[in-house]
């Protein structure tokens, strides 16, 4: 008897709390509540930054055993250099493939000629359902929702929400992310979508031309959501589907989402 009453009281409390939280969700979603929500979310950024700093220090201490730290630093330096070289190769390949007009439009340097804000990654999404990053720059630094986020290696994603001193970035790994790309060798066009393990590409067929592993995918600029020519990744594998109008491929993203520590926010590109 007592247990039953206790259970129904718990159920009542559960329903009341759920209703309260859903009401809060609906209220905080309103446009008039957006500034307060942004401020509240920014409030956690300093704590996350501190925790990230502690994590980096702990990593450094543990890595010091057996000179792992030095090897890691050297590995990081070589990796950065390798990424830069690979990006240059991709740029050169892509530029060679395109005619003069397209090359002018592609002009990778132009994308890095944009005005940018450097930001530190201070946190990541709380679960696997949304692949997001939190950065320590917000509206007070000129960052606005919709802006494009990159690293020296290539495209990271887009700013989803911005508070005064912090922002949330939806990465390409997010299952809802969509980016139109073209391939560096074949010139074929397709759409990259996020996924739990790897980026996926649906690439259109063209007569006598097929996508192949090792090609690079760069943003095509189609749709106006991203500037043309940002490196997305390398085709790791391609599944040809003769009966379909498109092939499927897996893309090795140039940015390791778990390893990104700094990003660049392009502040003067307005997605259409």
């Amino acid at each position: 008897m007592y247990g039953r009453r206790s259970q129904s009281r718990s159920t009542g409390l559960f329903l009341v709390l759920c209703a309260s939280m859903l009401l809060l969700a609906m209220l905080s979603e309103q446009s008039w509540a957006a500034p307060a929500r942004g401020v509240a979310k920014s409030a956690l950024a300093p704590f996350e930054s501190a925790m990230t700093h502690v994590a980096a220090n702990v990593d450094r201490v543990t890595a010091a055993l057996g000179d792992v730290s030095a090897l890691r630093a050297e590995n990081q330096r070589l990796k950065t250099a390798d990424e830069a070289l690979r990006r240059q190769v991709v740029e050169l390949n892509a530029a060679a493939k395109e005619n003069a007009t397209l090359r002018q439009a592609l002009d990778f340097e132009r994308s890095f000629g944009h005005r940018m804000v450097a930001a530190q990654v201070v946190g990541r999404g709380p679960d696997g359902f949304s692949r997001t990053l939190q950065i320590d720059r917000g509206t007070s630094d000129g960052v606005q929702p919709g802006m494009i986020v990159t690293t020296g290696a290539g495209l990271v994603g887009r700013v989803r929400e911005a508070g005064p001193h912090g922002s949330i970035v939806q990465t390409l790994g997010d299952p809802q992310s969509r980016v139109n790309v073209f391939l560096s060798k074949s010139g074929l066009q397709g759409t990259v979508t996020g996924g739990p393990a790897a980026l996926q590409l649906d690439v259109e067929h063209s007569l006598g031309i097929a996508a192949s592993s090792g090609e690079w995918a760069l943003t095509s600029g189609v749709g106006g959501g991203y500037p043309r020519g940002l490196v997305v990744g390398e085709l790791a594998s391609v599944t040809h589907r003769p009966s379909s109008t498109s092939d499927q491929a897996l893309i090795a993203w140039v940015n390791d989402p778990t390893g990104i520590s700094f990003v660049l926010v392009i502040t003067d590109f307005v997605p259409s």
């Binding site: 939280m21 009401l23 905080s28 979310k41 996350e48 939190q134 299952p175 739990p196």
Partner: protein, 167 residues
């Protein structure tokens, strides 16, 4: 004072989840420490404590995620309620039951989170991807819950801080 200390511990847990835990990604998921802690609190301190802390942890998680405040709190509440339902009907000393409760709680959390996001017009992953993540997260969290229970039972032996602080 105890409540503040417990809230600070919960905040630290959330911060670890969004900074360190992603390094432990397996099959697309990483430990949901907030959910594991809420399940451990529910198992050791009762469903009311669990639901109270589910709200606190959920709102903290919502501060680190895109979208409005509330969806993670509702999802954690579902996990806590399901675990509470489980504790009334089984042997609490068993190791298997908390693991099963954690797996079921994670499934409830994931379903409610995706449904809440969908209801609020937020982007949700495709069904196949969501199922894959749900299964992987359920296994991952189920493995971690016995460890959390060991910690909480140790704390309770020293003093029931979480239970007392949420009463």
């Amino acid at each position: 004072m105890k409540r503040l200390a417990a809230a600070a511990l919960m905040l630290a847990t959330i911060l670890v989840q969004v900074t360190w835990a992603p390094r432990l990604t397996v099959a697309g998921v990483f430990p949901n420490l907030a959910l594991v802690v809420v399940i451990a609190i529910t198992w050791t301190g009762g469903v009311r404590s669990g639901m109270a802390w589910a709200c606190v942890a959920g709102l903290m998680l919502d501060l680190t995620a895109p979208g409005p405040l509330g969806p993670h709190a509702v999802a954690l509440l579902a996990g806590a309620y399901l675990t509470g339902f489980w504790t009334r009907n089984v042997d609490r000393a068993s190791v298997l039951h908390p693991m099963l409760a954690a797996a079921a709680g994670t499934a409830a959390y994931s379903i409610i989170l995706v449904a809440a996001d969908d209801t609020l017009g937020l982007p949700v992953p495709p069904l196949g991807v969501a199922m894959q993540l749900l299964v992987a997260a359920s296994v991952y969290n189920a493995v971690l819950v016995p460890v959390a229970l060991l910690i909480f039972r140790g704390r309770q032996a020293g003093g029931p801080a979480i239970r007392a602080s949420s009463a």
